[in-house]
Symmetry: C2
Subunit: 421 residues, 2 copies
């Protein structure tokens, strides 16, 4: 929407007062969908919501009671900008499961890992700076990078994650253009939206390339503990302390409603993160942090993660089974963890143009273009199997097949002109 159109719609008398960065904000394709897909008759394979109903509420009630009886006044008070030291110590244990050793001083608690990425982007990105990212990449990260007016350079990514050769090419290209590369951003385990995992050999190669070019790596890992069969390789941070910033989150292994994530960063960056956190919101919620801290201290949280793994494994199975049954000709990634399938539609079908037809068939997904900063992804779409029941996933994919098959037939009848242009 142009400023003139906006003015026409909103009669915004403050239009002349906004900062340049205010124009970088737009309704994301995922967010805009939420209104449509909240109707109960629609099977939504669109949102990436965790299935929090699988969390027994009594585990939290115990945390609440212990917390209020022992440290209620601290939980209700302002805390430090770096976050609760007890929780930070517990997070070290969590990160050790992925091979990370760290000190409690190097962690900063954030209001979800989204805010961690927002603060980091604020620390590093000037207008025009380059962020290297997977193709496709997390929609929320793309939104942040755009907001800081960065250039997002997508790097070819396949079933083993980001390609080191393609990364080297992208770096060379950016440097040849005289651009300043600020960091590489990636979700190495069960990526959003791809579902793919970066292989161990590639982890080493990518770290080596970034070390050689002095490029910081931001490793965003909300899904790493939600593997279905074998564990993913160790975290990139476990191989490199000085060149990797690690982002973690309780949103997928506990509950997103608390908005608690964390950032592990080299000391000088961590110092700036704490100041940025304080400037933005004084301190993260003591109450949320300490609820989680009590939960980790009193509940069998590893068993709860096992429960979540089982739930999502069943849903992944249902999704892949339905894909095989109803859409055998459509290529999909086959994730070993996390929340998502990434589909590649037959040539000529535009997933965004198809969405209204899908919603008419009572199924929703996220169009692939949401996961690129450069407008590509038209023939892709993301299916999220984390929230609907296995039965609804099957119904949803069957409905999706109806729409896709109709589109394919139309293309076969009337030719591939759209795709060949």
């Amino acid at each position: 929407m142009t400023q003139e159109q906006q003015q026409g719609l909103n009669l915004d008398q403050w239009l002349g007062a906004y900062a340049a960065r205010a124009n970088t904000l737009s309704v994301s394709e995922v967010r805009a969908l939420f209104a449509v897909v909240s109707r109960p008759e629609v099977v939504s394979l669109a949102g990436g919501m965790p299935y929090v109903s699988a969390l027994p509420k009594e585990l939290l009630s115990q945390s609440y009671e212990t917390l209020m009886a022992s440290r209620g006044d601290i939980a209700l008070q302002y805390g430090s900008g770096q976050g609760d030291p007890v929780l930070r110590d517990q997070i070290r244990e969590l990160m050790a499961l992925e091979g990370i050793s760290s000190s409690v001083e190097d962690l900063v608690i954030t209001t979800g890992s989204q805010h961690g990425l927002d603060l980091l982007s604020g620390l590093f990105l000037d207008e025009g700076d380059v962020v290297l990212a997977e193709a496709p990449s997390y929609v929320g990260a793309i939104g942040i990078f755009r907001h800081y007016e960065a250039h997002i350079e997508h790097v070819f990514t396949d079933d083993d994650g980001m390609s080191p050769e393609a990364l080297q090419e992208s770096i060379d290209k950016m440097l040849a253009e005289g651009r300043k590369i600020k960091f590489l951003y990636l979700v190495p385990n069960f990526g959003n939206p791809s579902g793919v995992t970066l292989s161990e050999p590639r982890r080493h190669k990518i770290l080596e390339i970034c070390r050689r070019h002095h490029i910081l790596v931001i490793e965003d890992n909300p899904y790493g503990l939600l593997y279905f069969d074998e564990k993913p390789p160790m975290a990139l941070r476990s191989y490199n302390e000085d060149g990797v910033i690690y982002l973690g989150s309780f949103s997928k292994i506990l509950a997103p409603g608390f908005r608690v994530g964390y950032v592990l960063a080299p000391p000088a960056i961590r110092d700036k993160m704490v100041l940025a956190n304080e400037s933005a919101l004084l301190c993260p919620s003591s109450f949320s942090q300490m609820m989680i801290s009590e939960y980790l201290a009193t509940a069998d949280w590893q068993k709860q993660i096992d429960t979540f793994r089982g739930v999502y494994r069943d849903r992944r199975d249902a999704a892949l089974q339905a894909m095989q049954e109803h859409l055998p000709g459509v290529r999909t990634t086959k994730p070993n963890g996390g929340f998502y399938l990434w589909l590649t539609l037959p040539q000529g079908i535009d997933s965004k143009a198809m969405l209204p037809l899908a919603v008419k068939e009572l199924v929703a997904y996220t169009p692939g273009t949401a996961f690129f900063g450069d407008g590509t992804g038209q023939s892709n779409l993301r299916i999220s199997y984390s929230y609907p029941t296995p039965d609804n996933i099957k119904i949803g994919i069957k409905r999706l097949a109806t729409v896709i098959n109709l589109q394919t037939e139309l293309l076969e009848t009337f030719g591939h002109k759209g795709a060949e242009r």
Copy 2:
């Protein structure tokens, strides 16, 4: 600290990678104090912490149980970027107490009102833009404005709040310098750090001046309901819907540990606020919001605010009484609500230089320079009476008197050279 010094201390290998805005972050004078004053033998009159012990915990336990029994899965899930509609509706009732009528659509829930101000500043402030603010002004706001590289223009403020004549002069001066004024920021009720309240006639004059110059007003009102005797005048927003953005908070009337505040803004600005909120942290904490919503629905929250009023009134009384007894020659504001006294020291005493001596006498305060963007405030200091008991307030002020009186004696013996320079 210069970049070179920082590099020497931290060996920051990423020093060349930071964005320009990263250099705007520095340890605030208030924050840096926290380490020193947390020793139990020090009476801290420095931090602005509310006395959350005055909140009966059973009021929250009831909220927790009702919430988890009825809407637990929603409280644990991601919510909307604008915030819980039920809570937004309840906030309308709260704002009505200060004369504000609004629609539920015009409210955005934020992670404390600090984050509301951060997001608004991001929407409006380009480098070099002017923010008009009280003299003195809230330290957290100054930090944000600096972070967005704005110029903070302080406007003379006395016991009736900001002077409309001085505001007009500041505007004229800024316009003559060719600067772009983005908004006026003020805390009209029981201001932090001044404790003063903007009089009703001045509210109208200030709104009229801003209307005439098309300057947006940001009204930050965390303390308005914490009056001790008569209610403060109606909110500025109650007189002007289109030109005032209103910030409210649950930090002082309930508990800061939840990090829940809210912004009431004209529709076009509100739309951008929602997008900025989503970009920064996806959504505010559902759990925190719904805990507060249940509290407002089930507890007698107006009675609880009365309880807080009584607590802070007693402490204000203790502080003013101790001032009269031990420091009769030091000028102080006499707040009718809120958390703070603002002291003006005898000529020649530098409150920042005096702080180490005060801490040696086991009392802490916040130096006046923290509340100015331009280095002034050397002869002022802020006393916060919200957190220590009345007895400790008296002990603290007595200790402060020892330090101030010693400084005064030294000055009288050795002359006012320091002050006359």
